[in-house]
């Protein structure tokens, strides 16, 4: 729904106040608001990072001041992303150049990416996601040790090798491994994702909290709960399938639990620098 002329006038005044040096056509800002606001223009404008939307809008139309301002303000952030992805194939400067051109230059069938910024979150956060996404596509390479093969959610979550199932009586091994895989399938998808990122991708609790926008204690609690659920479900499944006595089950699963810890430690130690 397009903004009314009153709404647009107020929006332009807010932008002028925040960025007196930005020369931006009212109609361009109006078009950007119309595109991103959806049905509730008033609600959108109340929450919108309007100055940043105006900069993005200006930059998408080739406004030099807007582009320079975005690059200046977010230099450190973009540098850190480029550093993370720099490789012999793509130097940091190459990556920055590629990112600049994606952000600010139109391709034959695509407008500059900066035009996609919708003002709903901070421009910094949006730039970070966009840059990481672009660089993953660009530098996707076979030797990435932390690359996740996730066609099926479970097999890589439980590595029988890591669980040292050989410590369990041979006749139970297959059943225990299968129960763990089945148990992983039954976890809440969000919790399974959290556990996988923790166990397989080696993300620390700090990192998971930061990337999922949740409190550190919440992340820690959810991981603990998911691991507990995994063990409980697997234990129930093994009990059903093998008709084992409680003492045998207890022994098997105390071993499994201690090996899960080992798995975590190994993941953390083998984390790429």
């Amino acid at each position: 729904m397009p903004a009314t002329s009153d709404q647009l006038a107020v929006a332009c005044a807010r932008v002028r106040e925040a960025l007196p040096a930005l020369e931006l056509a009212e109609s361009d800002l109006g078009a950007a608001i119309t595109e991103h606001a959806g049905d509730d223009v008033e609600g959108y404008l109340a929450l919108c990072h309007l100055a940043e939307l105006a900069l993005a809008c200006g930059a998408s139309h080739g406004n030099g001041f807007a582009i320079a301002e975005i690059e200046r303000t977010h230099r450190a952030l973009l540098d850190s992303v480029c550093n993370r992805f720099a490789s012999p194939g793509h130097s940091r400067d190459d990556l920055m150049q590629i990112l600049r051109s994606k952000l600010f230059v139109a391709e034959p069938d695509r407008r500059p990416r900066i035009a996609d910024y919708d003002g709903r979150g901070s421009l910094a956060g949006w730039l970070r996601v966009l840059a990481v996404r672009e660089f993953i596509d660009l530098t996707r390479r076979k030797d990435r040790t932390r690359e996740l093969a996730m066609t099926d959610a479970t097999p890589e979550l439980i590595e029988p090798r890591d669980l040292a199932l050989e410590t369990i009586k041979a006749e139970y091994r297959g059943a225990v491994a299968q129960a763990l895989v089945d148990a992983a399938r039954r976890l809440e998808p969000g919790d399974r994702h959290l556990l996988r990122q923790h166990l397989v991708a080696g993300l620390t609790i700090d990192q998971l909290a930061a990337v999922l926008g949740i409190h550190r204690a919440t992340a820690a609690r959810r991981i603990a709960r998911a691991r507990e659920q995994l063990a409980t479900i697997a234990r129930t499944l093994v009990a059903e399938r093998l008709a084992l006595a409680d003492t045998d089950l207890g022994e098997i699963f105390s071993m499994v639990a201690s090996k899960l810890d080992l798995t975590i430690r190994r993941m953390l130690e083998s984390r790429p620098a």
């Binding site: 993370r84 996601v129 993953i136 996988r196 930061a210 990337v211």
Partner: protein, 279 residues
């Protein structure tokens, strides 16, 4: 669900998504390889791996601390990182006190923007016990604040479980001797009754529950209930002046004479009133 936009992922990181949207994106991440990888990469960008001061080598992340090797003393330690610089002062006082019942603080300092405290690894952490009141009291007299008391007493600087945080701390005030007192009373109540005095799934709900006195429990002697309730008063000023006063109130049942005398007087007055009304 189609892959979330850069804007949606960015809002996920910033913690500004509404709950249903956050849950939907997390579910999507579980099944989508490329979005899972995106988030995993973002984690390394927004929260680079933690580093430690040169004296330590990080071994493993624990729930609220890090297990590390102290390369100077060649022994394992627990490292707690916090953005609260006042912990340094507590750690200093802590080291000088060196009381039994206090986890030994090996070292404390700043690393980057953060404060860290290294404590010697003891066999688990100390469960709350009578001595704890005395020990924390000594810490208070020396001008320190524990700040993270609960049923288990660890070193300084750890994040405190909201259930043991005083309401003023839940509302953003800095920990104080009075909030330590509150935390100890929650833990003592829990130990005596078998459940916490206040129930609430979120810090907000807890803060509301803490506005009224916890229900009486037959598991505790009446004078203990009274002493703990005062320590659990939502107004810090109305709690016990210090832990010595709390300890004294916990140990000594109040003299019975006065209450009985008052009851007797009240009974006589009621009898008079009834008699008068009947006339």
């Amino acid at each position: 669900m189609t892959c979330p936009s850069a804007a949606a992922i960015s809002q996920l990181l910033e913690g500004t998504l509404a709950e249903p949207a956050r849950v939907a994106i997390e579910s999507h991440l579980d099944g989508c390889a490329s979005c899972g990888e995106l988030v995993s990469e973002l984690a390394w960008v927004v929260a680079p791996p933690r580093t430690a001061p040169p004296r330590y080598r990080l071994v493993r992340e624990l729930t609220d601390a890090w297990l590390a090797d102290d390369l100077e003393r060649n022994e394992p330690v627990e490292l707690v990182f916090t953005d609260d610089p006042t912990v340094l002062r507590t750690a200093q006082i802590w080291r000088e006190l060196a009381q039994p019942g206090l986890v030994e603080v090996v070292d404390a300092g700043t690393h980057g923007d953060e404060t860290y405290v290294a404590t010697r690894i003891v066999d688990g952490v100390t469960a709350i016990e009578p001595r704890t009141l005395e020990t924390v009291g000594a810490l208070h007299r020396a001008g320190g604040v524990h700040g993270s008391l609960g049923p288990l007493v660890g070193g300084p600087g750890r994040p405190n479980d909201p259930a043991y945080r005083a309401p003023e701390v839940l509302h953003g005030a800095a920990p104080s001797a009075k909030s330590d007192q509150f935390a100890l009373c929650v833990a003592l109540w829990e130990a005596g009754v078998g459940r916490r005095p206040f129930a609430g799934a979120t810090p907000g709900a807890l803060a509301v529950a803490m506005q009224s006195a916890p229900p009486a429990s037959g598991a505790l002697a009446p004078h203990v209930v009274a002493a703990l309730r005062r320590g659990l008063d939502p107004d810090p000023e109305r709690r016990w002046p210090d832990l010595d006063a709390l300890t004294a109130a916990l140990e000594r049942p109040p003299t019975r004479r006065w209450p009985y005398a008052i009851l007797a007087l009240a009974a006589i007055a009621i009898t008079f009133a009834v008699v008068l009304a009947a006339l």
